[in-house]
Subunit: 345 residues, 2 copies
């Protein structure tokens, strides 16, 4: 298995990413090649004095970077020698099975769309974010790639999310729901109501509409929405979790008795922090592309990068894209008939 790592996008420089690669290589024998894609001089400066000492590592030089403030599609076209573009080329040309980047999410998505290419039958790729809750987790998709969606896209996200949840998270028969403003069948906007109708026809464990109240209650495993709503929901969750921890910390530091209590109970807080820690998941997979594409947090450090590589390797190993291609082909037969009923007569 061969993985291309774009080492240029992180907040902490490529040294941290390379350290994560090193940790991942130590624990993972399935990886035969890791490409470090980025500025050669930066990479060499970040390497240990005598180089990497692992024959599985290859450096691929790229002179440019798609920065966080760049317009993704424009930047991908103009910066012909960008690190994410080169990493995507490696996947497209069959040299790598997967790519990982900590950079501009839009840039990674554009590289997936225009360089790696989509799985046949998939109309839009999407971001699938795994969100932890007590006892297990759920997948939210699209978590931000597609601001405007059509019902067909939501139906395909449902199919891809279901495959990911089953094959990677090992939920046996994932419950798929459409995120709406109420659980009744009649709730929703024009987009979700039509997506609801389509999803009911598909071979999914479709449970209908779910609302915000369901997310942390183990009612649903795959939560489908457009990227506008998904981005807002994801960031709201992150913001509230951080806000509640900081409120708790402040309250616990209020006086000596509380401090002592906090000290005695510190394992409880650590356990929750570990549970809610985004580093465990290492980032989020982009689904629907002809190769595994994984977005890691820009703020990721060694441990998170190693997690990202571990999750990516497991995704490659599970042949998830073959399953997505098969399930999407089956779904499209139904969707085509539903969306263009005249085509069938």
């Amino acid at each position: 298995m061969r993985i291309a790592v774009d080492v240029m996008g992180g907040d902490h420089g490529c040294g941290v990413i390379i350290a994560g690669v090193k940790a991942a290589l130590l624990e993972n024998k399935d990886i035969t090649t890791i490409y470090l894609v980025g500025n050669k001089a930066d990479i060499h400066a970040a390497l240990p004095p005598r180089g990497f000492r692992d024959h599985r590592v290859r450096i691929v030089h790229a002179t440019e970077v798609i920065e966080m403030e760049d317009k993704p599609v424009v930047a991908l076209r103009k910066k012909k020698d960008s690190s994410i573009g080169r990493a995507a080329d490696l996947v497209h040309d069959g040299h790598a099975d997967a790519l990982i980047s900590l950079g501009n999410t839009g840039g990674i998505f554009a590289a997936g769309t225009f360089k790696v290419g989509r799985i046949p039958g998939v109309d839009r790729g999407c971001i699938a974010t795994v969100i932890p809750r007590q006892g297990n987790e759920f997948v939210l998709l699209d978590a931000g790639a597609n601001t405007e969606c059509k019902p067909l896209h939501l139906a395909q996200f449902a199919v891809m999310g279901s495959v990911y949840c089953r094959e990677i998270l090992k939920h046996k028969n994932p419950r798929v729901g459409i995120l709406s403003n109420g659980t009744e069948d009649s709730k929703g906007n024009d987009l979700t109501l039509e997506a609801f109708r389509l999803c009911k026809k598909l071979d999914l464990n479709f449970i209908g509409n779910v609302e915000g109240h369901d997310l942390f209650k183990d009612h649903v495993d795959v939560v489908v929405c457009d990227g506008f709503v998904g981005n807002i929901v994801l960031k709201t969750i992150e913001s509230l979790a951080v806000g509640m921890f900081s409120m708790l910390k402040r309250e616990l530091m209020h006086n000596t008795q509380r401090k002592l209590g906090a000290y005695l109970a510190k394992d409880a807080f650590q356990s929750i922090r570990r549970r809610m820690d985004p580093e465990v998941y290492g980032g989020a997979p982009l689904l629907g592309f002809n190769g595994i594409v994984f977005k890691s947090h820009a703020s990721a450090r060694e441990r998170a990068v190693a997690s990202a590589i571990r999750v990516t390797a497991s995704t490659v190993k599970n042949h998830i894209n073959q399953t997505i291609a098969r399930d999407i082909a089956a779904a499209n037969k139904i969707l085509d008939a539903e969306i263009n009923p005249s085509a069938n007569t």
Copy 2:
């Protein structure tokens, strides 16, 4: 000041609501009349043996109730003698300044729209929910009344939310933001991009787009979105907050040492719980109507009902609707020119 309380909508029966009314009357001398609107027999059965003993209380009989599962607009029309309908009539006919209900939110909104009526110039009423965070709070609107919105509606929500935040929550110069999938000006969907353009023209402290990450960071005081997104965000926040508390409780009960720690630090948890407690706010005001309309949680008990009455009384006292009427009229002059530029030539 005269308040109509629909006593039929709560989960715990009208006795709890009447107890809340009693508590509110004791502390509030500004209230001259409270109408208990609902089934007379139920109300009498819930009253203390010798009646209420407060000359300010009047009972208004209504034989029907809009149930949670009713379609609001249809039910309001068909159930001519519903408690929420009767309460709205009291406001419309000038017998009451405000109404409070724990019932079907859609039913209250429909009663506001079709019976109380909108403030001149307001195109759509909306639900404004106050959400606590460390140190202060923010207003989210529309929190669920209007599934599909136009840019004009969002701009008017911005105006009404700003007035509410300034006059009732006493934020001096409320920062108004449009909830979007990123903070850059270019982020958003068709609806929010056009609403952004309109809000920039208005006399508001408009800070542009805000994202989920901003909500619990004291970056914004008035968060504007359509009711579909608002409903999802609000319920997601409630779900995560409850989920985190239950995770914490579980972890703290794990062993004796943690239990002891939790006991010593219990004031810290209580302080956060009080801070995040929806009962403090008693519910959410519906803005834009020709009278104060307040939705209390169906699960509200005595204390929350008393809070709802207190918040409602303070809203009446602050003449918020006169201010909304004035600010909306000023905003509409600008909005009319922006939306129909030809009308000005």
